[in-house]
């Protein structure tokens, strides 16, 4: 797993990258009540706002962690946004990307670096 400073995790599965948010982020957000996902087929550039996530407290964006094309989105989150709190690093992935430049992954943090980053 790789991590961003925006508290996203990225997991490589075959030729796609699965993106979600970390447990730390889910806990900071509080109960998630609304998720808006990108379109399948949409091309995103690193730092594009591509997911809207609203908790009981506030709205926030999830930024595309790398360049790529969205190949799949987790529609189940639209019906049941609470999954984001229940299983942020498993069932509650947000979208899958076909990376335009896999080397962008190398710039991201590994688990130890991320844990340092959040002061764990």
């Amino acid at each position: 797993m790789k991590y961003t400073e925006e508290h996203e995790w990225l997991r490589v599965e075959d030729d796609v990258v699965v993106v979600g948010i970390t447990e730390y982020a889910a806990e900071q957000l509080g109960d998630v009540v609304f998720v808006e996902l990108p379109e399948v087929g949409q091309t995103v550039s690193k730092d594009d706002e591509c997911v809207v996530i609203e908790s009981v407290k506030a709205a926030s964006d999830i930024l595309a962690p790398i360049d790529g094309e969205v190949t799949e989105v987790n529609e189940a989150l639209v019906e049941d946004p609470g999954k984001v709190n229940e299983d942020p690093t498993g069932d509650a992935w947000f979208f899958k990307l076909k990376a335009a430049d896999p080397s962008q992954m190398d710039e991201l943090m590994d688990e130890a670096a991320y844990n340092d980053f959040i002061g764990d």
Binding site: G30, D31, V33, F34, E36, V52, E54, V56, K57, A58, A59, V78, P81
Partner: protein, 372 residues
């Protein structure tokens, strides 16, 4: 930056795992480990304990205190029976709202509870108007304020003092709780039955612990307090009402008793009376309404409202909005033109650049559960 005040239960909040945030000059618990959603649902299902010690408690003492206070509020205070409380608000000379409050007749004095953010201004306002009339304005500095809310609140409080069962909505009484002399009212800010308890500072923590010991009671933070009051259709000062909104625009006409309206025994005689009384008979151009977003996206404070999906000018604005855990979807309140204020009126709210459908809805979103 001025230093934040600490409430008497500060250490208990930390012990309970609260996340503390600055609010109206105090460090207050916004949520506990249960989280906003579960705290909200727990309060509606069982009972919740809230610390609202940041709010201002003020005693007015003097023979003519009630009549004097009527010069600042459009409520019937002289007609308020001993042991009774009612909702009131200070109006400005322009007929706007300076603050909303509770006023209780406690026999030889009145007890007011005012908003934390307004309390200093309120006290100054009352001193100016009331002291020359021989009424003393005494901020209560040595008491905390707790609220116990929810369907099991009566049973819980009766466990400490059976007299709790005899109170009905908006009664006030002296009551010994956990050995401390408390001032109790049967009221709250959640739409649920419940009590608000003014307790001496030294006794606040033992009382809070005695209440929390009951398995029905969970501590509830400001986050859930906000969603509970929003579902209950209750105004939050500084958001849904302020100096720019009049009582009639804010749909608070019900809180102006007949005695103070045109033709009443003590008609007018409060700041802005000319406007307020005129608006009661003639209506206003805009009105506070409930708003039910038709999709899943919350419409929060500041969302612009339109009467069509594309084009046209903004017709109104959301003043409070979020997710209603008991409703199971987004809920909001805001101001719209009177002509668009009927429940069922279709409007659109602009969220992240997109106009999403929202319908004018009756308030409250959740039926009130008071013991009348």
């Amino acid at each position: 930056m001025t230093e934040l005040g600490r409430v008497p239960l500060h250490d208990l909040h930390l012990e309970l795992g609260a996340k503390m945030v600055p609010f109206a000059g105090y460090e207050m618990p916004v949520q506990y480990p249960l989280g906003v959603m579960k705290e909200h649902l727990h309060c509606r299902a069982r009972a919740g304990l809230f610390d609202v010690s940041h709010m201002g408690q003020v005693i007015l003492r003097g023979e003519d205190a009630a009549a004097a206070l009527e010069r600042l509020v459009p409520q019937d205070v002289t007609g308020l029976g001993e042991g009774r409380q009612r909702y009131a608000f200070f109006t400005s000379d322009a007929g706007g709202l300076l603050d909303d409050l509770m006023v209780a007749n406690r026999g030889d004095h009145l007890l007011l509870v005012v908003n934390a953010a307004c309390k200093e201004a309120d006290i100054a306002h009352m001193r100016d108007a009331l002291e020359p009339a021989g009424v003393s304005v005494e901020p209560v500095e040595d008491r905390a304020l707790l609220a116990l809310q929810g369907p099991e609140a009566e049973a819980v409080l009766a466990g400490l003092n059976e007299a709790a069962r005899d109170m009905r909505f908006m009664d006030v009484a002296d009551m010994e709780l956990a050995g401390a002399p408390c001032w109790v009212s049967r009221s709250g800010y959640t739409g649920e039955d419940g009590f608000e308890i003014s307790v001496p500072v030294a006794a606040a923590e033992p009382l809070a612990r005695a209440l929390l010991e009951h398995e029905a009671v969970a501590p509830i933070g400001l986050g859930a307090r906000d969603s509970l009051r929003l579902e209950a259709g209750l105004c939050l000062y500084g958001h849904d009402i302020d100096e720019t909104t009049s009582p009639v625009e804010a749909a608070l006409t019900w809180a102006v008793q007949m005695a103070r309206r045109s033709g009443g025994a003590r008609e007018g005689g409060f700041p802005g009376a000319e406007r307020v009384l005129r608006e009661i008979t003639q209506g206003t151009d805009r009105r506070r309404v409930g708003l039910k977003p038709q999709g899943r996206a919350p419409m929060r404070e500041g969302v612009a409202l339109y009467d069509r999906e594309e084009g046209g000018a903004q017709v109104g604005q959301v003043t409070s909005g979020g997710f209603g855990p008991s409703v199971g979807g987004p809920v909001a309140m805001g101001y719209v033109p009177a002509a668009m204020s009927d429940p069922g009126t279709a409007l659109w709210g602009e969220v992240r650049g997109k106009r999403l459908p929202v319908e004018v809805a009756p308030l409250p979103f959740v039926p009130a559960n008071f013991k009348r």
